[in-house]
Symmetry: C2
Subunit: 226 residues, 2 copies
């Protein structure tokens, strides 16, 4: 992904542009609001105060050559759709477009874009899933029925070796990593403190400690049974 164009520099567009630029991506940031363009110009490759619904403007900016175009315009649904259509017309290979209404989403589906971004809805369901899993500290979905989850080590594993538990055979889960706190003596001021150590290639002879946090992968039903 060498060059990415972002249209609309509200909080979302601006955050996206800055995150991409900080990772070395060449970002072309467009907004018709001069102040927003001014705010971002030190962070991106090109910052342009212009109307993204004007085809000539887009051509002058070299939008035909970008790898990805992201329409981050919010309230002005028509401007967002028109910008999306122009990106398609100019042959931008990958287009992400934001939808703020159900109707806009349907139209974007009909136009055909790589990704429709529904900011509030996606955050709502993301935050719901972090709340719902109280025992599960974090969860990553791996397909319909599988996940990778971070959990406190089950008490039945404490004091046992990974190898004697036969997790793969008996519990049908795979240990991805073990997180444990280890003492860390601060030589500078002689203080003892604790730092978190992650081991993604745990030795089968490792014995589980009651404070361990383990990251496991498996079918959701098998994880539940732990």
């Amino acid at each position: 992904m060498r060059q990415i164009a972002i249209f609309g520099l509200g909080s979302f567009g601006k955050a996206l542009a800055k995150s991409l630029a900080s990772e070395g991506v060449e970002v072309i940031a467009v907004d018709r609001d001069k102040d927003k363009v001014e705010d971002i110009k030190d962070y991106v490759t090109v910052a342009a105060a212009c109307d993204s619904t004007d085809e000539k403007t887009l051509k002058n900016l070299g939008i035909e050559n970008v790898d990805l175009g992201c329409v981050a315009i919010g309230e002005d649904v028509e401007a967002g759709l028109l910008t999306t259509i122009l990106l398609k017309k100019l042959g931008v290979p990958t287009i992400f477009s934001r939808a703020v209404t159900p109707m806009q989403k349907e139209i974007l589906k009909a136009i055909g874009v790589a990704r429709i971004i529904e900011i509030e809805e996606e955050m709502g369901s993301e935050i719901a899933s972090t709340i719902i899993a109280p025992k599960i500290l974090k969860r990553v979905t791996l397909g319909e029925n599988h996940s990778i989850v971070e959990i406190k080590v089950p008490s039945k594993f404490v004091g046992k070796r990974i190898s004697e538990l036969e997790l793969r055979k008996k519990n049908k889960i795979n240990i991805v990593a073990i997180k444990r706190n280890v003492p860390d003596i601060d030589k500078a001021n002689g203080g003892r403190k604790v730092k978190e150590e992650i081991n993604t290639v745990p030795d089968p002879e490792t014995i589980f400690d009651e404070d361990d946090i383990i990251i496991v992968a498996g079918k959701n039903s098998d994880i539940k049974n732990l």
Copy 2:
């Protein structure tokens, strides 16, 4: 998490309330806009059209007894802050509060809440990270130097068994799962199609196929060397 109160039913608050309710959580949904309350009442336990900045109202709704309160009010920063302060006063154990301005974020930090939600900023950086990793289909960060990533199987593994590769010793990575497409004969109409199969407890005798996608965990530098 038995009972959760959501204040503000814009797109975010509404999505959060519905996602939680669909997972069996008891949701109390509050908004001063009757239409928004009407829209959600069939999905939640209690839907109340009232002002969340009124302490008496909150007490009448039993907010003192909820496990978590989420202030999802957007534009009205003052109302959001006031609602947050009331939740603290009422002793709600866990409070999530939305910040739409940097100033509001600072004030929320000073008040002290479990989580400050910056919707657009968090989505901006989340989407940036899915764009940035081109070889890596998906990445989950596991601490500063470790990740779980989904990648096409490296060509040097193709045709070899997991057991003969000694991934843990030699490559210092841990195989979390293997994704492969398997034929799926549709008995209904005799059609042959393909479905994706995820195996989170791969048999060490599994031989890698060139079309396999593997999910591995390890230090970022060791993953890069694959």
